[in-house]
Amino acid sequence: MPSIAACNSSPHKVMVPVKSEKPSEISPSNAQSTTPQKRKLRSNGPLVQETLVSSLVKRKSPRRCLNSSPISPAIEIEKDSSKQQEKTCEIPPKKLHDNFTGKPSWNPRDIGQISALKEALHVSTAPSVVVCREDEQKRIFDFCKACIEQEKAGSLYVCGCPGTGKSLSMEKVKQHLVDWAKEMGLKCPDMLSMNCTSLANISEIFSKIMGKNLPRKRINGSASPLQHIQNLYSQQQQSSGSNMTLIVADELDYLITKDRGVLHDLFMLTTFPFSRCILIGIANAIDLADRFLPRLQSMNCKPMVVNFRAYSKDQILRILKERLMALPWTVFHPQALELCARKVAAASGDMRKALCVCRSAIEILEGELRESASNLSSSAVENELPHPQTAPACEFFKKQESMIVGIDHMAVALSKAYRSPIVDTIQSLPQHQQMILCAAVKFFRGGKKDTVIGELNKSYIDVCKSTMIPPVGVLEFLSMCQVLNDQGILKLGQCRDDKLRRLNLKIDAADITFALQGVRFFRNCLQ
């Protein structure tokens, strides 16, 4: 885990003295990876900014922005660009290393910019173009197209880890289908999408399908909705040319019961001779179709499986850049984005996590700026600086103003996301509870898996004797074990007699050893 880097070790400040001699050149031996297109972009500076500005004006936030008019950021950027051209001779090194993609760097103090940025990176914002899922979308789209063209029913199973873009891709495919059907002049299929967690009763899914198919027909009391649909699909339609129904069932594993009846019936609906539904199920398990629908294989109508694999590092990086491309400012250092993508891809490949980590990196930057602003204002209040000396302070202030999210912020955000609080908690436990943990580690070192409280008490008293600390009484020992149980460090069983309650460690003994290694007292204890 990268340690928390101090603010001063930001890579930007290191570069400044090197660059001051040659202001107009772009040194190719730059430590940070600069794209070779940089020179071109700088010469086309105003042109690039104009197109970006126009795209920003089109993209309005649906929510209330504190800077209400969408034109105001444009004015700021124009001012910024003019300032840039003025200052090119004055402070070129600063602009150089902030201008990775040719865009001006953002102003972290502008609330409008912050809210636009956070919205671009929010999990609930659906991007206009879904990248890195073109293959999967194409497969689903082709399947639905074939079903509609041939007026045949079919079933499809979409699976993948959480955060891999399944529901998002389904929305896009649905839109595509509607457009395509209109274009080809075919009848647009009825869309029914539901989340199986919101069903109070599992068989309600059939009444929902009924409602979609035959909204005007009333359900007879005698036949259940399932039987109605089955009857419907086994007879020739009177009115030919009725629409197909596209059913998308999200979180399909909530429909799994012990006898798997509902799931079977749902997929069997597509096997009836005159069935008109296209069923698409979404879940996490890869082998759901094999494990829970064995009968379908014998009937040779197993659903087609589309697997959404976890995102790789390049895919995550591409998606993040795509989201940030719409903004006219540079916010992230490219290596910071790469670090985030690498770490998230190695851990789970979950896109939501990557977006969360980026947002918390922005918040860390905000926190830093607030702190430095409050320090600066307090120091300015304390000592009255004479006028020529305020210039370097303002210079420092301006330098911080154009700070972008760097590797150190991203490293802190990643460590917060992936760090477990166990080591910190063990280090801050009171002394006797730490000794109980030491006694437990020593006791379980012999290979035993669990014990009773009475035995642990004996071990604890031995530890106390060896370190000359008076042990606490049984009642306090019991209450300390209970506190550790509440926190999830130990696990206590139930028993009428307190001393015979079963007990085992829920955390790794290595974690405890690591947490307490800094204190010599416990190092000796654990010897």
């Binding site: 504190l66 809210s115 609930s124 979950d350 969360c356 918390s360 918040e363 006797h432 509440d486």
Partner: protein, 417 residues
């Protein structure tokens, strides 16, 4: 006013302060690095930027999680009066999703002055919640869900959590979900799709450091020097307080108390006992109050019971201990008497009593629950033949013997064997 009434007024003030969690948590929440500031910043940025957020507060029981949350929410309710709706759920009461949705619907109805019908079904309630989220999102109102005992919600199918977090994934809703739990591994209990939707933000509530404890004590015990209190008395009290806080013995008492359980709640309970033991005769808090409070909290009831035993009863207990050490797993009164006789033979003690007398003190020990029968049935067997066991541990027995007023030395020697 008279001296006594000043002291009474001071006592009342201190007791009121100790019972008010907001007051206690304030000195620990001042620094910008504290959990209070981080929590407030997260919630207020979600409100102003109109985005959804979720956060988890984790820490041992009594470390001030709910107090900090209440403080932050009160401040935010004052800052943004009309833009916040608060829904509180508790995992011990509402872990079943039917109950939870009913409660959410009820609280939403109360907040927005709508009528709530008890006959509404689960479906109705969940549709209502989703509709309210959408409406409040359009009206730029944020709904804050507080889930207490969050680990209880993570049992079973976790449908409530899924519905809440999924509803937050839409662009139109504006909600903040705050989970409070005392389990460190609570996010491992969540299903992976819920963990993916829950943001990884966690605030860890650690026990206060020694400097924080000093600051807290000063904050709680300093009398105000404004007009509500007589100035001379307050100044004198504060001066004596400063001396006390700098005393090494005082620091030792506090740290030995916090070695067992260092949460704030525990410390506040101790301070309350200190104030209660403060007599009105002495006008100021002294070290003696703290010492007597410590000893009154750290009582060993069984050891005190042993102090009241007679010498014969002590002999019986020590004999039973020797039998247990000799790994005789089950023994009864007869075996104890055999041991007693052998002790008398080897050491020629002067305390040798008859069988009936010993039986009577044996029964008294049973009544006092220092020993008990190992089996619960009393099938006609008399007391002498039923197996018994000790209910005090050896450490307690030794401690009791040490503090006994005139313990025969032979007993202590027997214990050491």
């Amino acid at each position: 006013m008279g001296f006594q009434s000043q002291v009474e007024k001071a006592k009342n003030l201190l007791r009121t302060r100790l019972c008010n969690p907001n007051f206690i948590i304030k000195p620990l929440s001042d620094s910008p690095d504290s959990n209070y500031c981080k929590l407030k910043f997260t919630i207020s940025s979600s409100i102003t930027e109109a985005c959804n957020n979720s956060i988890l507060l984790v820490g041992p029981r009594g470390s001030g999680k709910i107090a900090v949350l209440e403080l932050a929410l009160n401040d935010l309710l004052q800052e943004y009066p009309d833009t916040i709706s608060l829904i509180r759920l508790n995992g011990l009461l509402h872990s079943d999703e039917n109950c939870a949705f009913k409660e959410i619907a009820k609280q939403l109805c109360l907040e927005h002055h709508l009528l709530f019908s008890k006959m509404s079904s689960f479906d109705d309630n969940s549709q209502f919640m989703i509709a309210m989220l959408r409406e409040c999102g359009l009206a730029h109102k944020t709904i804050i869900f507080t889930l207490d005992e969050f680990d209880q919600f993570a049992q079973g199918k976790q449908r409530l959590l899924y519905s809440l977090l999924d509803a937050m994934n839409t662009v139109t809703s504006q909600a903040v979900v705050i989970g409070v739990s005392c389990r460190l591994d609570v996010d491992q209990l969540l299903e992976k799709r819920i963990r993916s939707r829950f943001s990884h933000r966690k605030l860890l509530f650690l026990p206060p450091s020694k400097e924080d404890v000093q600051r807290l004590l000063e904050h709680v015990f300093s009398l105000p020097t404004d007009s509500s209190f007589p100035h001379d008395y307050a100044a004198q009290f504060n001066g004596k307080l400063q001396n006390l806080l700098a005393d090494d013995r005082f620091k030792e008492i506090i740290s030995s108390y916090l070695d067992l359980n260092s949460t704030i709640n525990h410390l506040v309970r101790f301070l309350f006992i200190v104030v209660s033991l403060w007599e009105s005769k002495s006008g100021f808090l002294s070290l003696e109050n703290f010492k007597s409070a410590l000893s009154s909290i750290q009582r060993q009831p069984k050891q005190e019971c042993i102090k009241d035993c007679s010498i014969l009863e002590l002999y019986i207990l020590v004999c039973m201990k020797r039998l247990e050490v000799k790994e005789q797993n089950s023994y009864n009164f007869n075996s104890v008497m055999k041991e007693y006789r052998s002790v008398h033979d080897s050491f020629q003690t002067s305390d040798y009593y008859a069988w009936d007398v010993c039986l009577r003190s044996f029964e008294r020990l049973i009544q006092r629950e220092l020993i008990c029968f190992t089996d619960n049935r009393a099938h006609g067997q008399s007391v002498e033949f039923r197996p018994v066991k000790l209910l005090v541990s050896y450490v307690e027995l030794q401690g009791g013997l040490k503090s006994y007023r005139s313990c025969p030395i032979i007993l202590q020697k027997l214990m050491d064997h």
